[in-house]
């Protein structure tokens, strides 16, 4: 039942302090004064509590269990991160400079550590999410080429067909022409294909490494060299940074621009889809184009630098999703140098353990050592059983587990993309393997059971086709 249906006219859930000021006459022109009471809930505090308690109970969450969404990095979200963010919630972004030194210092220190982790020279923390970071990074690239007088020529951005959908979308928003690169047989960038598209009309090559198949681009140093030889920039999609920490850095591999998803690798929670934070780090030659303000070291402290005449401007108001940064900062302080390497080591170990065990049941798309994730290819399985990948996903919910990412990457037709993360124990992984095996057997013995799943969830399988065909956008009385 919606909160609107729980509403009763005249009920209230709030009380404001006694009001002590005399009322002025309302000077708002009559035609600008609201006439109709908006249809908003009128409920007691108890109703509010029970409504949102009930809604929360209908959600799956990391705190409930395993959430192996590939490329989403659903790791455990430490509670202390939340506590630390609470220390900063009352600050107004336009307070006098001398009253916000702590916040600036925190951003400065965070930026320095993230530059170190990415192997970049400068950074903006302003973007609010990964895709926002992509847009920012491409706008920086754009400004760079404009400044060099090459923008008229450099219209193309190369994006592999295995890339996240945000990559081409961001490139389009930044005004570039998107060219899709077909992956090679080994799941990696095909150097021939790349060569065929790579010329001086290319502005940027956007890569995720490891890519969305969970495979590390072995030829990355060659790719970087090729890109730079034609004067193009190399862009790193940070969604999969969780795989490589402590061993290599995007900047070291030759990437010029790197975005990070603080809500993924650095475990600020996902909050049902956001807020995130998508800082971008850049090599020195791109630093003049970053959004303002940039945080800079000034003696022992940090300061805000607005003096970037070549800056792209701003991509959102103020400094970004600051409290999300506090959480990532807390996480980095907690894990530290060795801890971050351990994160990647164990994330990759877990993925390979799952891959090794599941490959005995399902077909793994590229069954070799993977990084932090891997992809199952159900094409044959679907043909054999009539059970779809979506059905397997729904059936997993009945086992109290979340499903992996499905139907992505697009280059594997019935893909399940599995990223366990490092915070999951062997016991949990074994439970998942066990459920996947049971579902495999169910699909063979009783496919209808799987096709109608889930059964044990707060609601049965939902019709999203008609939901889009005959859309209902809002509650109406």
């Amino acid at each position: 039942m919606t909160i609107f249906e729980k509403s009763t006219s005249g009920r209230k859930g709030y009380e404001l302090p006694e009001y002590e000021l005399p009322s002025v006459d309302c000077g708002i022109p009559e035609h600008l004064v609201r006439k109709e009471k908006p249809l908003l809930p009128e409920v007691s505090e108890v109703d509010v509590v029970r409504h949102y308690t009930e809604l929360a109970s209908k959600n799956y969450s990391v705190d409930k269990g395993f959430y192996p969404l590939g490329s989403c990095t659903m790791k455990y979200n430490p509670k202390i991160n939340e506590d630390m963010a609470m220390l900063f919630t009352q600050l107004h972004p336009m307070q006098p400079r001398e009253t916000i030194q702590g916040a600036i210092d925190l951003m400065g220190h965070l930026k320095e550590m993230l530059c170190e982790i990415t192997g970049t020279d400068d950074m903006t923390l302003q973007p609010a999410a990964g895709a926002h970071g992509e847009l920012t990074g491409l706008l920086v690239a754009r400004a760079y080429f404009e400044d060099k007088g090459e923008l008229d020529k450099r219209r193309k951005v190369l994006v592999p067909d295995s890339a996240h959908g945000t990559n081409p979308a961001s490139a389009a928003m930044a005004g570039f022409e998107v060219v899709e690169l077909k992956s090679g047989k080994d799941g990696c960038v095909n150097l021939e294909e790349l060569k065929a598209h790579l010329d001086e009309n290319v502005a940027v090559i956007m890569l995720t490494n490891p890519n969305t198949l969970g495979l590390f681009e072995k030829d990355i140093l060659t790719i970087a060299k090729m890109a730079h030889e034609v004067g193009a920039l190399l862009y790193y999609d940070g969604a999969n940074l969780n795989a490589i920490m402590g061993r290599t850095r995007p900047g070291d591999m030759g990437f010029d621009i790197v975005h990070l998803n603080l809500h993924k690798t650095f475990s600020t929670p996902h909050g049902m889809g956001g807020p995130g934070s998508g800082p971008i780090g850049v090599k020195k030659h791109l630093a003049p184009y970053l959004p303002v303000p940039v945080i800079r070291k000034a003696g022992e402290k940090y300061d805000l630098d607005y003096n970037l005449p070549k800056s792209i401007g701003m991509v959102r108001s103020f400094y970004g999703n600051f409290t999300v940064m506090v959480k990532a900062y807390t996480y980095i302080l907690t894990m530290g140098n060795k801890g971050l390497k351990h994160v990647s080591d164990m994330a990759v170990l877990n993925a390979n353990y799952l891959r090794a065990k599941l490959s005995k049941i399902y077909k793994v798309a590229y069954d070799r050592i993977c990084m932090h994730e891997f992809v199952i290819d159900n094409e044959e399985f679907v043909k054999k059983t009539g059970v779809k990948t979506l059905d397997i996903a729904k059936r997993l919910l009945d086992y109290g587990l979340h499903a992996p990412t499905v139907y992505f990457p697009l280059i594997v037709h019935e893909a399940m993309m599995i990223e366990p993360t490092e915070t999951e124990s062997k016991r949990t992984l074994d439970e998942f393997i066990d459920a996947m095996e049971k579902i495999y057997n169910e699909a063979i013995e009783n496919p209808e059971l799987v096709k109608k799943a889930p059964y044990k969830t707060p609601i049965r399988r939902l019709d999203d086709v008609n939901a889009t065909k005959y859309p209902v956008f809002r509650y109406k009385k």
């Binding site: 909160i3 609107f4 859930g13 000021l21 708002i28 035609h31 600008l32 006439k35 249809l39 908003l40 505090e45 009930e54 929360a56 959600n59 969450s61 409930k64 959430y67 969404l69 979200n77 202390i80 009352q90 600050l91 336009m94 009253t99 702590g102 999410a129 895709a131 926002h132 996240h164 959908g165 979308a169 389009a172 928003m173 590390f216 402590g246 061993r247 290599t248 070291d252 998803n261 996902h270 889809g273 995130g276 701003m314 108001s317 600051f322 409290t323 999300v324 900062y329 907690t334 164990m346 353990y353 050592i369 915070t423 999951e424 707060p458 019709d463 999203d464 939901a467 859309p471 956008f473």
Partner: protein, 441 residues
């Protein structure tokens, strides 16, 4: 071993054996080892980390909300205790985007209700389930106007929040969009005559703030009347004010966007807040962002799912309405809990008190010789002339525990020394009078 990372040495050994490799390093053979550790400190236990971050936070100064008169897009309001308690449920905090609808009904229903609330406040037909902030929502509204109209000239009021306009420029430049800045008049509202002359055949949209950055309430009716029907009308609205002001939808707005921070969200040093984005059903397929719709499950029970996903980047890729993927869903939750708790009466009371407090403060300041620069009717903010030395005074007020009205003459140079004064329901009679004293000294 680490408290967040469970494996024991023995388990690692077992797992490596299962994989068929000898060591963890064997899993990374493809990766060029370019570093030997980071030049960052080693990890710390949580007690040390807590103390350290608390130490940093102490280098900030927090003000008692009753002594805060700084708004300019981010506002202090009373936030009922229940908001934080309900929003901190880990089943909201640690959930992902609702890709598996059957185990995400909490998120989906909440967002559906949030969309309804935003439609009600703005008077619009559809809302998406959030944008990053008011500035980026405004920027996206211009991009949408291009998609709807096929035209690229935007008439944008100079009275829209300067940060929003800056961000809009960043977003629109690569699309070759021309932004024509529209001047204001003595009232602090847009100059209607100039508006008339600015709009031409190439114009995609006119964008107005309501109330505007100076706190002045634009006359949307008069504005809409002079805009041709085939030019889109974009309104950047302050949502709390909408409990008191007529909904922009009533005046024929095509898109209403804004910053939702004032609806129960702490200032958060400017972020996270939330951009709301509403429009008309006829434009919905051009709207950016995620939309939740109602549907049924296979037993006929009502449920909620993401709809119209073919507009979105993960399906439409470079042809998507926007690249937005992560949004501000958690802040939408806070908005929804706040609105549920306050209800229509509570929101109206908040809006009215803010209005009344600001007018009381304006009167008191005028009595002490601070003149208002604009004569247009205002909501909870207004601009006053201040002495040349005011910026210095603004810093000095910190010692009195006051976060005073912000000087705005660096952005609006034409105004000369001036400050934007804000009051909401959290200011008291005493705190208002104290501000007047301190400012008059």
């Amino acid at each position: 071993m680490h408290r967040y990372i469970p494996h024991t040495e023995e388990e690692i050994r077992q797992m490596l054996e299962e994989i068929g490799v000898k060591s963890i390093d064997d899993l990374f053979v493809d990766v060029p080892k370019t570093i030997d550790g980071y030049n960052i400190p080693e990890g710390k236990d949580e007690f040390t980390v807590r103390k350290f971050v608390e130490g940093i936070s102490k280098k900030n100064i927090n003000f008692d909300p009753e002594n805060i008169f700084l708004g300019a897009g981010i506002y202090y309001h009373y936030i009922p205790t229940v908001v934080k308690h309900m929003a901190s449920n880990p089943n909201f905090v640690t959930a992902y985007t609702p890709y598996q609808a059957e185990v995400s009904q909490g998120t989906l229903q909440m967002l559906f209700e949030y969309q309804t609330m935003m439609c009600e406040l703005t008077g619009m037909e559809v809302a998406n389930s959030s944008m990053y902030d008011g500035a980026s929502a405004f920027a996206e509204s211009l991009l949408m106007a291009v998609r709807v109209t096929g035209k690229t000239k935007m008439v944008v009021a100079k009275t829209i929040n300067p940060e929003y306009r800056t961000v809009a420029k960043t977003y629109t430049k690569p699309q070759g969009i021309e932004i024509h800045e529209l001047d204001y008049d003595q009232s602090g509202k847009v100059d209607i005559e100039k508006l008339k002359s600015s709009v031409d055949d190439k114009t995609a949209a006119v964008a107005i703030a309501y109330p505007n950055f100076f706190g002045v309430i634009e006359d949307l009716k008069a504005i809409r009347e002079v805009i041709p029907q085939n030019v889109m009308f974009i309104v950047v609205a302050e949502p709390v004010s909408l409990a008191l002001l007529e909904a922009p939808g009533k005046f024929g707005a095509d898109i209403v966007v804004g910053e939702g921070q004032s609806l129960g969200v702490t200032p958060n040093f400017g972020g996270p807040g939330i951009g709301f984005f509403t429009t008309l059903e006829k434009h919905v397929r051009k709207m950016p962002g995620r939309i939740i719709g109602e549907t049924k499950d296979l037993e006929g029970n009502k449920g909620y799912v993401m709809i119209l996903q073919t507009r979105e980047q993960h399906i439409r890729r470079e042809k998507a309405t926007s690249n937005i993927c992560s949004n501000q869903a958690y802040i939408a939750l806070i908005n929804a809990i706040y609105i549920s708790t306050m209800g229509p009466e509570g929101l109206k009371e908040v809006a009215w008190r803010s209005y009344n407090n600001a007018h009381y403060l304006a009167k008191k300041l005028e009595e002490r010789g601070f003149s208002r620069i604009f004569n247009g009717e205002f909501f909870n903010e207004f601009v006053v002339k201040v002495p040349e030395t005011y910026r210095q005074k603004w810093h000095e007020m910190v010692k009195d525990g006051i976060l005073g009205p912000i000087p705005i003459d660096r952005v609006y140079k034409e105004l000369g020394p001036s400050a934007l004064v804000c009051s909401t329901e959290v200011n008291t009679k005493a705190s208002i009078e104290r501000l007047v004293e301190v400012m008059s000294k």
